[in-house]
């Protein structure tokens, strides 16, 4: 049993009287190296730990919950947090739907997501990776005039959740990343490109792929022009498609649904998307960076089919939103670190792959905009109304092939329409960090705003 879990269990013993307690402990270490012009610009190493406590009182009108957290695990911090949570609980509304998770008998999938080599790899090797990445991109193409950040970073994190309602869970994961941003110039015009490689450990990183990605994306944008406004197809490459899927995943949160903040509410069983669209949230798939054996309330994560061949099948729930909806948790509680309460959300979205690779999709689409990067997703997408409008850099698609680069345009529609107007799903699944994997997607009838 992990030390963190033992510590959490000891803390549970401080529960008093009729109160229920839930303890969430987390700890982790991380490294970040940034290289710039052949030197280390920054080198950060840190360990952190913290506690989130929830206290629940049952009353005649339902349960009240109070929460508190501390960014340290010394006794003083923990006692202060516990006292604060106990004070806060008195001011919360009684709510018949509020409860802590209870063991539901669902077995957890054994996953090996923590690679010890993150800890044992010498710092010098990590530094060398960052320096090599910066050099490789700088020297990779004569048009690269600057590499404004080249980073190696990694982490190992562990969490434990225990509760007086019988929850006992701990889980761990690691990650190692290379990321680089390059600026290309042709003397008149500057363009940027971002490359990434992600793995569970340094040995899984692909420096060449990250470097080439940044170089290709920056250089192929040189000479980009603002296109004319028009209506056409948009082809999202895997990275931008993953951003789109993550937004859709947000609207499939049971929390958003029960609060009347999702356009999917009351639409179970309806056709909400093209028959090509089958969306899963499957944290038990170890290939996904969002994989996890347990959710934020300590229940086993499971494979949830959300949309099948265009038909809305299910939402993801944590304990509380499930009770409000009259159903049970799908093991989908997310926690944003130690602060705050769990809430329902997707962590490992993947779309059932189609049959076509990207080149075939481009050929079949014929004409449109190829979306290389998105800008302003937080400011131009409203997941409640469904309005979608984002800034884009990319390339025109002409005669079924990538053509001239375009910039300073937006693509707009509504999320509802985009799901229905989906015309191609790629076979080229990329496992990306974040809550969604991505593959090439084509969507018709997009409004392109330019000059």
């Amino acid at each position: 049993m992990s030390q963190l879990l033992e510590r959490a269990e000891r803390l549970l013993e401080s529960a008093k009287g009729a109160e229920e307690i839930e303890i969430y402990l987390s700890s982790g270490v991380e490294t970040e190296v940034r290289a710039y012009q052949g030197e280390i610009e920054n080198l950060s190493s840190a360990s952190s730990s913290g506690i989130g406590i929830r206290v629940l009182h049952d009353g005649p009108g339902g349960a009240q919950v109070g929460t508190a957290w501390a960014g340290a695990l010394d006794d003083e911090s923990i006692h202060e947090a516990l006292a604060q949570a106990r004070e806060n609980v008195r001011f919360a509304s009684e709510d018949e739907f509020v409860a802590f998770a209870r063991p539901d008998g669902h077995p957890a999938t054994a996953l090996s997501l923590r690679d010890e080599s993150v800890l044992t790899t010498p710092m010098g090797d990590k530094i060398d990776l960052a320096l090599a990445l910066e050099r490789r991109v700088r020297e990779g193409d004569i048009r690269i005039r600057q590499v404004d950040s080249a980073n190696y970073s990694d982490y190992v994190a562990e969490a434990a959740v225990v509760s007086s309602t019988g929850i006992r869970a701990s889980y761990a994961r690691s990650g190692a990343f290379l990321s680089v941003e390059a600026i290309a110039s042709d003397g008149r015009d500057d363009q940027t490109g971002w490359g990434l490689s992600a793995a569970r450990a340094p040995s899984g990183l692909d420096l060449e792929a990250a470097a080439n990605d940044a170089i290709t994306r920056a250089t192929r944008m040189l000479g980009a022009v603002k296109p004319a406004s028009m209506k056409c197809a948009a082809v999202f490459e895997p990275r931008t498609a993953a951003s789109f899927l993550a937004i859709i995943g947000g609207a499939l949160s049971g929390d958003a649904v029960v609060r009347g903040r999702s356009f999917f509410a009351n639409r179970i069983g309806e056709l909400v998307a093209s028959p090509l669209f089958s969306l899963l949230d499957d944290p038990t798939d170890p290939r996904h960076f969002g994989a996890s054996s347990h959710d934020g309330e300590g229940l086993a994560c499971r494979r949830n089919v959300l949309i099948h061949e265009g038909r809305l099948e299910a939402f993801v729930y944590d304990t509380c939103s499930a009770r409000r909806a009259g159903t049970s948790s799908t093991g989908s509680a997310l926690r944003g670190g130690i602060a705050g309460s769990p809430s329902a959300g997707c962590r490992a979205l993947q779309l059932a792959p189609g049959e076509e690779d990207q080149a075939t999709i481009l050929k079949n689409v014929g004409f449109g905009v190829f979306v290389q990067s998105l800008m302003g997703v937080h400011s131009g997408v409203n997941p409640i109304s469904g309005d979608f409008s984002v800034g884009v850099t990319g390339l025109m698609i002409r005669n079924g092939e990538l053509a001239e680069p375009v910039r300073e345009l937006t693509v707009a529609s509504t999320l509802q329409r985009m799901l229905l107007d989906l015309s191609h799903v790629g076979s080229d699944v990329e496992w990306l960090p974040g809550s969604a994997a991505g593959q090439t997607l084509a969507i018709e009838g997009i409004a392109v705003s330019g000059s």
């Binding site: 929460t67 800008m375 800034g391």
Partner: protein, 465 residues
């Protein structure tokens, strides 16, 4: 501050330790932040949270390299260990012993009248309920109301090898109302923030009610909204949140880190006309009470008012301490960090456009056809290309000089240096808005502001055909 987080002698010895391997500059940043928040959703008080984060971040600079480590343990032994970890970048070693003398602590007290910790929680909840009632009273189409109140008390001490030794006590309070209205056309949203570097005195029942009613009306109005136009049109930005335009169109591009790496379209352009002569842009950490107010920045330097663009001419960039020292520029006090767990970076404080002399109503009246943006909701920029977006969350058509039909949300997109040239009218009704600025994974509170103004054209990213 009582008692002091870490004693002067301990700070001094920690800095000495950090310099032992040959560091040229060392800094200890000790922070203690307490926060509390309350959320009312669907008339229920759902989440009352209190939190505390305490720790120290230590950085050591050797040549072009910065080493950084942080710890949540403020004992002298833990600080020494963090100092050694941060100093590990000084791979050459052998700097020997350097004595640093810290003088008297410069203290900057908070101006908050009512400290958040002194407020009865029941009183906070009363305000949440008051806002909820006010929002719902705007109409039966309001189907969802979420009200959030949060406050934070942030105390820090910063000490460095050049003798900076200062402490600040920052109190911030925020309140936001988010509403959903439901009608035949689906759901629409409304949002209003109230936030300041002040204590609980910020939140009068009237202020809270005004925000709640405004958020509700915004959502109800948008039920009638049509898709926004697509293409280049004149745009009038209402006073306040329009300041986001400058934050994105040039603010980030004027931060010295982007400039020094030649990753900004504004690099090498000081003294040049980069904007319409109507543009005088200021970044000003000294505006008392504003969301981006600072007595001192997170590197311990007193905040100041810095003119970035004067009558369209670029006058200066924003600097963190080390870059300004290296370039021989004045200290602009723009070194900020999200918490002790992060390195400081060049960040904006309150960034605003000075007033012009037009009349706000006349600017609209003199626009035959265009878009009136009543509220902006955020944006993003690529400083290397200058391309930026910002999102409108409340907007209307302007037809024949009059504000007419409401429009659905969308982004606007432009290129900073081009768009700054297109500012063709600025009015006198200045106001500021609070916001959260994200950069490289760090969030800090900022203010932005401007009077009603017009762009002769910018691309509206709507879905209308």
């Amino acid at each position: 501050m009582s008692p002091q987080l870490v004693e002067r002698d301990v700070l001094q010895r920690t800095i000495d330790e950090a310099l032992r391997r040959g560091g040229e500059f060392a800094e200890v940043f000790v922070e203690d932040r307490t926060t509390s928040s309350a959320l009312l959703d669907q008339r229920r008080v759902e989440e009352l949270t209190s939190g505390r984060d305490r720790g120290a971040g230590i950085r050591v600079v050797v040549g072009e390299t910065t080493g950084f480590a942080h710890t949540a343990d403020l004992s002298e032994a833990a600080l020494r260990e963090a100092a050694q970890a941060a100093a590990a970048v000084a791979r050459e070693g052998g700097g020997g012993v350097r004595e640093v003398a810290l003088g008297t602590l410069r203290r900057y007290p908070s101006a908050a009248e009512v400290e958040p910790g002194d407020v009865d929680k029941a009183k906070k909840i009363e305000l949440l309920r008051h806002a909820d009632d006010a929002a719902r009273s705007e109409g039966s189409s309001i189907t969802q109301v979420q009200v959030a109140l949060g406050d934070s008390v942030r105390r820090f001490i910063v000490a460095n090898s050049e003798g900076v030794f200062a402490s600040d006590h920052q109190v911030r309070t925020r309140f936001n109302v988010a509403c959903v209205a439901t009608g035949d056309t689906g759901m629409q949203t409304g949002y209003r923030p109230v936030a300041a570097t002040r204590g609980f005195e910020l939140l009068s029942p009237t202020a809270v009610e005004t925000a709640a009613r405004g958020a509700a009306r915004q959502a109800i109005t948008k039920l009638e909204a049509r898709p926004a136009p697509s293409g280049d049109l004149p745009v009038v930005l209402a006073s306040g949140s329009g300041g986001i335009l400058f934050h994105e169109a040039c603010g980030h591009g004027l931060e010295a880190d982007a400039i020094m790496k030649q990753a900004s379209v504004y690099a090498g352009r000081v003294g040049q006309q980069v904007a319409s002569p109507l543009v005088t842009l200021v970044d000003d950490g000294t505006v008392a009470g504003e969301w981006g107010y600072l007595a001192i920045d997170d590197e311990g330097h007193e905040s100041s008012r810095n003119v970035l663009i004067e009558n369209g001419v670029l006058t200066d960039y924003m600097w963190d301490y080390l870059r300004s020292r290296k370039e021989g520029r004045h200290v602009s006090a723009n070194g900020r960090r999200q918490s002790y767990q992060y390195l400081p970076m060049v960040r904006m404080t309150n960034t605003y456009l000075l007033e012009g002399d037009s009349d706000a109503d006349e600017i609209v009246a003199q626009t035959p056809y265009g878009v009136y943006v009543a509220q902006l909701g955020g944006g993003q920029v690529n400083t290397a290309t200058g391309d930026f977006v910002f999102g409108m969350t409340a907007a209307f058509l302007i037809e024949n000089g009059r504000i007419t039909a409401p429009l659905r949300d969308c982004n606007l997109i432009g290129n900073g240096p081009e768009i700054l040239q297109r500012v063709d009218a600025v009015a006198k009704d200045f106001s500021m808005m609070p916001g959260t600025c994200g950069k490289d994974g760090q969030q800090v509170p900022v203010g932005c502001g401007q009077a009603t103004m017009r762009l002769s054209g910018i691309t509206i990213g709507g879905a209308a055909s």
